[in-house]
Amino acid sequence: MLREEYRLHVNYSSARVFFSMPAYVFAIAFFFAATLPIMEDSIPVGDVLLFTNAGVFVYGLSVGAFGFLGKTYLERRYGRTNFLVAMPFLLPFTFRQAYASMYLRDVIFYVLLILVPGLGGVLVASVVADFYVSSVLVAFVTVTLSFLIGISFSFLASVLYLRSKALFLAMISAFLAFAVAYGVLALIPLEFLLPSWGFQANLRPLGDDLWQAAFYLVVSVVASFVMAILAVVSVAEAPLGKAQRIKESFPRYHEATRFARSLQSLLAKELSDMARSGGASKMLLAYVVPLLLLSFTTWYVNNGLAIPVGFNTVFYAAMVGSFGIMLYSWISNVDAVDYLETLPVSVPQVIKAKLAAFFLLTVVIATGFVVGIALANDETQLLWLALPVLYITTAFLVIATAYLTGLSPNSVLFNPSVMTRFMAISLLPDLGITILSFSLNSNPVFAAAGIALVCFALLASTLFFYRALEGKFSKAGFL
């Protein structure tokens, strides 16, 4: 499976590009670690470690839904590509073994390609930043444990969702109860929610209690192990359900998308696919959860850390735009597109149809979120600026992502040169609008003019990228 995953990625780029990913992670880790002492006055090292672990935990959650992933591999027709996870239909091993292998494959894959190079970058930076090597190693172990807990939790939750909605809801409810008990009610320490943090918090530079640290180390390992084992034993050995009879609803989608003109049929198919694959609800969930996490983070910075940052509706609008990138990935991954080779449609047309589907599916919820934030913060007077910021940053980021990655955003983003351009494209405008938005209260005319200028530049860039789709992908194939 490791070789299969490797070849899949190499197929999208090349072996050289694939192996430059760890170098890229190394460089980023080195840069941030080397500049950490400069930032230490404004951001204490404890907060940096906390946010790193929280981020890695969420990353583990996002990549660990093997229940859904495996089911998708088994159900979906991949044309020319077959995956080993489907081999229990033919070879003498079980689906449980196949899923367990998939879990181990990704743990090895992410630890070796992302976490270990990150450790290398921080270790090299410790020469200039004067970190203790032992502290760096402790941080690495903690981050690895946080990742393991995240990926195992996600694995178990996704398998339970397919086996028993009640058990899934019980698991998520328990997690949310712990989150509220820690974040809102302050009844429990973070270690109860993320035991790996207990390991970090009890060792230098944050603490000095070896026994407590050892206890949380064991708890973290056992928790990850138990969740992964439970997930594996919960995998169904007859994973495909019976064929369902479906009411022919595609003509209705087709009629409803008449406005899309030359993209009508493709857009209708995208929307129909999203509804039938269950992707629409998963996608909206994947949109809502980051929005809630963002709200929690800003609340925590303002109230928990008591840092008086001027988060306002315009800031949220810019952030919402950046979540769209993930959703474009989802839409691009709903079904294989091999069959389109037989039809007179081009890759740019299909990308444009996916973009149109994205905007149709997200415009209401994104607008609702920003209006809700404005109402909650009594900032409706900022909506005239926040809503254009929302629409323009969303359009810019998603269309730029489509331009950079075509129909394979998940894989092409592993290409470090694409990733660098993607980071530059996605971070710079958000950073500009974020900084300017903080000045809206103190200097509204200057800030609004600056934001309008950034939006104008983004709009022009969006049009450029949209038009450039044709030139870049007109001769691309679907295979």
């Binding site: 064929a243 087709h254 009508q264 037989t342 039809l343 007179p344 001769k475």
Partner: protein, 242 residues
């Protein structure tokens, strides 16, 4: 105008030369066969001719349309049955044909869909998602999708695979009818018995090179079957038989 004209067509995938300076032409109304062992370059040739991929060198036209620069126009004019049967997972057979018909702007679409569902005996499965269909049924859906706009030229890559004998015969008869109507059919296949009955002219590819071009009438005149020709040209070195 020739149905297909190929001049010095080559295709490389990295260091590997999949097709090496192939030249041939196909008259309109011909049932044309393309044969060769696995990896000979048949599917690559078919994908080049249908505008799916770009050549590394040479030129090809289909119905007078340049395959490299006007791929979409080529696909509008032809029907394609790909090597792997992969209709979309989340549409039913009926809906996929509806989608295909709308993309191709086919008139009288619903009648035509019904005709093809009847032809391939798919009415029972019309409400089943393509992902839940058997391999044979998916192949039938892909065939119906290639036939629905009644193109002048059909490209079929292993079109008979996965079909039971009843539908192999039904498909064979239909293709012969198309041939009699003056339509052109370009068939890649390993099933030489079927090809023997259908094709009027054949080419044989081996390791990316065109190693033979024969009229079936010439073969018959020499009392040589397609299988014998094939084995003589590319099967001689087969020393790994059990």
């Amino acid at each position: 105008m020739k149905a297909i004209e190929v001049r010095g067509l080559s295709k490389s995938y990295g260091d590997k030369l999949a097709l090496d300076s192939v030249t041939f032409e196909v008259e309109q109304g011909t049932f044309f066969g393309c044969f060769g062992p696995n990896g000979a370059g048949k599917s690559t040739l078919l994908r080049l001719l249908t505008g799916q991929i770009q050549p590394s060198a040479g030129q090809a036209t289909v119905l007078g349309i340049d395959c490299a620069t006007q791929g979409l126009e080529v696909k509008r004019s032809i029907g394609i049955v790909p090597e792997v049967e992969s209709p979309p997972s989340y549409l039913t057979a009926w809906e996929f044909l509806y989608f295909t018909g709308k993309v191709r702007k086919v008139d009288d679409l619903e009648k035509r869909i019904d005709r093809w569902l009847d032809f391939f005996d798919l009415q029972e499965a019309r409400g089943t998602l393509c992902r839940d269909l058997s391999k044979g049924m998916r192949q039938k859906v892909m065939l119906a999708s290639a036939f629905i706009h009644e193109p002048k030229l059909l490209f079929l890559d292993e079109a008979f695979i996965n079909l039971d004998p009843i539908f192999q015969k039904r498909l064979r008869d239909y293709l012969l009818k198309l041939r009699s109507e003056g339509r052109t059919i370009f068939l890649c296949s390993h099933i030489l018995e079927i090809a023997q009955r259908l094709c009027q002219e054949v080419i044989v590819l081996d390791k990316g090179r065109l190693v033979a071009r024969e009229l079936m009438s010439d073969l018959q005149g020499r009392n040589e079957s397609l299988e014998q020709l094939f084995m003589r040209l590319v099967g001689e070195g087969d020393t790994n038989r059990p």
